[in-house]
């Protein structure tokens, strides 16, 4: 009898534990699912790695992060090299070059803009991975590796800030905030007390950096995994 009473009491009281809301956000979730599946069909990268690609649509906060940041190293080096090459090809006097209005230059401009968009998104993805790893893993060895990565990402962030990628006001602001956060990580002593790390964490949270990065990464962009 006592057992039955306990079970009844338990069910009644435990029902509040992680009680789901009454209204399920059906439409919003369906939109995300449909977008993700459409992107899969359109993107050859997604076809090669459907799971990795899909994760970018569903925030990915929970997906395995530890294995991804080495890929971010490769990504940031690639992006940095790409942007640097762009600067070199454009040359120092590009700003003084006469403007020739033609279909060709308009097309070039569109391609260039798209290229910077892709570079920005790839960079933001790498930063997101690094920041998530930074917040989640406090082992000294890992932190040292993350700091090296942060230094590379900081350099790329600055290159992007000086590039057409920063013409968009919200992206420019995001890059500026990233520069601030990354700079703090770069100068952080790996053996620093927890309070110093907490300051960086608070900066990340205060500026809502991760949320803003995620909302800047369009559906369909593969973060790799």
């Amino acid at each position: 009898m006592s057992e039955e009473k306990f079970e009844a009491w338990l069910k009644e009281n435990a029902d509040d534990y992680h009680r789901p809301p009454t209204n399920v956000p059906r439409e919003e979730m369906w939109e995300t699912i449909a977008r993700a599946r459409q992107a899969q069909r359109l993107s050859p990268i997604a076809e090669r790695s459907p799971v990795a690609s899909r994760r970018s649509h569903v925030s990915g906060r929970w997906s395995s992060i530890a294995g991804r940041w080495p890929m971010a190293v490769a990504a940031t080096l690639l992006i940095g090299a790409g942007i640097g090459l762009g600067y070199w090809m454009r040359g120092p006097s590009a700003e003084q070059a006469p403007v020739v209005a033609s279909l060709t230059s308009a097309a070039d401009s569109a391609i260039s803009s798209a290229t910077y968009d892709v570079a920005s998104v790839a960079h933001l993805t790498a930063v997101e991975t690094m920041l998530t790893s930074f917040r989640g893993d406090q082992q000294t060895e890992t932190q040292a590796s993350l700091q090296r990565l942060a230094r590379d990402l900081l350099a790329t962030t600055r290159l992007l800030m000086d590039s057409p990628a920063a013409e968009d006001a919200s992206r420019r602001q995001l890059l500026a905030d990233l520069e601030y956060v990354l700079a703090q990580i770069v100068v952080l002593d790996p053996n620093a007390p927890a309070e110093d790390r907490a300051m960086v964490d608070r900066a990340i949270a205060r500026e809502q950096v991760l949320t803003r990065i995620r909302s800047s990464i369009p559906a369909g962009f593969s973060r790799g995994n």
Binding site: S2, K5, F6, E7, A8, W9, L10, K11, N13, A14, D15, D16, Y17, H18, R19, P20, P21, V24, P25, R26, E28, M29, W30, T32, I33, A34, A36, R37, Q40, P50, V51, R54, R55, H57, V58, S59, G60, R61, W62, S63, S64, I65, T132, R135, G136, D137, Q138, A194
Partner: protein, 180 residues
């Protein structure tokens, strides 16, 4: 149209059929995910991921169980793996918080039943907690739980029994509430 026909059409890429399957099961999947995660954003993520995976893998669905059971299996796998990753990431933060509050918390000094119950459920071993959530809170039968989690229904019963016993022990302070 029967669920079997919907599945067949969904495999062929019929979006209306996919949507119909989604509508039929999304509430249950979301509820499960929410019970595991306790957070709306995560529950949405897990639900979305579960459906995306399910639609991807639909051609491999062998109809040995109902579509619902098969889908809930995917949903639970996504949710449990997801929450495990999150907990791994948060372990350090939590341990710092716990260390700070150490000594301040007296077992008998916490009068809040809800908090104590919440902590007790969270402290259950993952297998016990999952069965407890599915059976006592979401109303799944042991047979359904067995299919979804890939365990025997007897194992599900045993885990529920142990989960309740552990909760009863931990919540002994409140014995008056249920024996009255």
């Amino acid at each position: 149209m029967s669920e079997s026909q919907l599945v067949a059409r969904a495999i062929e890429g019929d979006q209306a059929a996919q949507r119909a399957l989604y509508d039929a099961h999304v509430d249950r999947v979301y509820r499960l995910a929410y019970r595991v995660a306790g957070d709306d954003d995560l529950a949405r993520d897990f639900t979305q991921e579960a459906f995306i995976r399910a639609f991807d893998r639909l051609p491999t669905f062998r109809r040995e169980s109902s579509f619902g059971t098969w889908l809930y299996t995917i949903a639970m796998s996504v949710s449990l793996n997801g929450i495990r990753s999150i907990k791994r990431l948060r372990t350090r933060e939590v341990s710092i918080d716990a260390a700070e509050s150490l000594g301040k918390r007296d077992r008998h000094a916490d009068p809040d039943l809800k908090d104590r119950l919440k902590r007790a459920i969270e402290d259950l071993p993952p297998g016990y907690r999952t069965v407890f959530l599915m059976h006592d809170l979401e109303g799944y039968t042991h047979e359904e739980i067995g299919e979804v989690l890939g365990i025997q229904s007897g194992t599900s019963k045993a885990q529920l029994f142990r989960a309740r016993a552990r909760l009863r022990e931990v919540l002994a302070d409140f014995a008056g509430a249920w024996s009255a």
